[in-house]
Amino acid sequence: MKRLLGVALGILTAIGGFVDIGDLVTNAVVGSRFGLSLVWVVVVGVIGICLFAQMSGRVAAVSGRATFEIIRERLGPRAGLANLAASFLINLLTLTAEVGGVALALQLASSVEPTLWVPVAAFAVWLVIWRVKFSVMENVTGLLGLTLIVFAVAVFLLHPDWAELAGQAMAPSVPAGETGGAYWYYAVALFGAAMTPYEVFFFSSGAVEEKWTRKDISQSRLNVVIGFPLGGILSISIAACAAIVLMPRGIEVTTLSQVVQPVVEAGGKLALAFVLVGVVAATFGAALETTLSSGYTLAQFFGWSWGKFRRPAQAARFHIAMIVCLLIGLGILATGVDPILVTEYSVVFSAVALPLTYIPILIVANDKQYMGRDVNGRLTNAFGMIYLVIIVVAAVAAIPLMIVTGAGA
């Protein structure tokens, strides 16, 4: 019974923790401009993140070490540095976007300017990382993030034309007034949002924090294989809400306040309360994860003592690195830059960095020296190779598409 509850909790937190500011914004933008014609990208992205998250979780469970630590050792310092540079910079950008997202959500609830909320959000992130147990932190933000299910409920309350929605999803096409370039630019952005690099580094480092062993592999696989696709359904619901309410009115999403408008249309103030709790939980949870991921990647590359399971005094450089990253994010937001713009760029640059993140994971997961009998099976490797091609194509296409389309304008 206890094990069953553990599995259920893992799945629920995986669903609630799946969506972050990148998913919220990108799905709403895409839904408002392209309807559901890019749903296939979410499906491809969710399968990809399931594949690589369970791979990196297995590496951590079998070896007892985080994936990034092994990448540094297995591929050498130069390849490790390339991996670190790409992942760390994207992570920093994502961290900035998440903290900004918390501030924007709190602004919607209170009318208080986001610039005043940003330091509060950053301090709260630091405090939770400093004081709260890893499992408590994960479970609370994940469970509160479940309130985003209100997006899925809103889809039904809005009584959409199901045939039209299905038509958009099943026979994807570029809507009138949009260009093929913009369509593919947002396809890459959605893919980057679904496969953000910090997710796998956090997942594998989290496995070490929670002291996973071989016997935890099946439970973690269940969390990923059930929880992430259900989280993906939340992403699709966000796009569907925008497609139903905003697209027919010619509204293109540029702010977080527009992302919640369809939910308000469907369920009024109660739905607004749910969605605000969900957005704060999702962005705050992701801010915790990205801050921790910054510390993890730096500490694991340089060989510092790391982990929340250690007292801060025993992992001083790990904690200082996270504080510095938070301060950098704070500094970026203090310039007055729009967090939504930071989010839009972070998901595209995530796509650029994908090969540097995922190719090494695939290599390590196939190394018998580390994995023994738990190396990737043929089927996993076949999917891994297919995704390798998709990842490289997305990475190569991201910047040219950004330039050609004026960042999807």
């Binding site: 390849a79 919607l108 540029t254 408008q261 190719i359 910047i399 004026g406």
Partner: protein
């Protein structure tokens, strides 16, 4: 565990980096198309989108389906969007009489969007300001529709 660096793995990572960089370099540069008319069309369309969003927020406010805080933030956000569009139009470099006329028409249309959002914002902040909130909503929707039509017209003309 013994440290080793397999050349094949390194080559894979290097090839991926090279491929990404090559793709980026080969992409070259591109600018937004359509000249002054195209730029005006995009700015007017942005203003139309913002005005539509403001109208939706105001309608939800009138129906008491949302909070004053959320409505106020949405209207402020949309006002920022419209003002950005107005600035873009004001900074347009025009070289012909036609383009000058386009700029003037676009600026006037965007100004009406801006004015109606400001009026709605005042109504939300202080409900005593305007007596006929329904008329204000109608004005917002009309401004959004006019901007949308102009945006489409300019889009076709470029």
């Amino acid at each position: 565990m013994k440290y080793r660096r397999p050349p094949a793995a390194q080559r894979m990572v290097a090839a991926a980096v090279l491929a990404a960089l090559t793709g980026s370099v080969l992409s070259g540069c591109a600018t937004m198309s359509g000249g002054a008319t195209g730029d005006a069309a995009r700015s007017v369309s942005d203003a139309a989108s913002a005005a539509q969003s403001a109208a939706l927020a105001f309608e939800q406010h009138l129906g008491e389906r949302t909070t004053d805080a959320a409505t106020g933030v949405t209207l402020d956000d949309m006002l920022d969007e419209v003002q950005t569009a107005a600035t873009s139009v004001a900074e347009l470099e025009v070289s012909t009489a036609d383009e000058r006329e386009v700029r003037q028409t676009a600026a006037a249309t965007i100004r009406e969007c801006s004015d109606s959002i400001v009026a709605a914002r005042e109504q939300v902040s202080d409900p005593g300001v305007t007596s006929d909130a329904g008329a204000l909503l109608h004005r917002l929707e009309a401004a959004a529709d006019a901007a949308s039509e102009l945006g489409d017209e300019l889009e076709e003309r470029q």
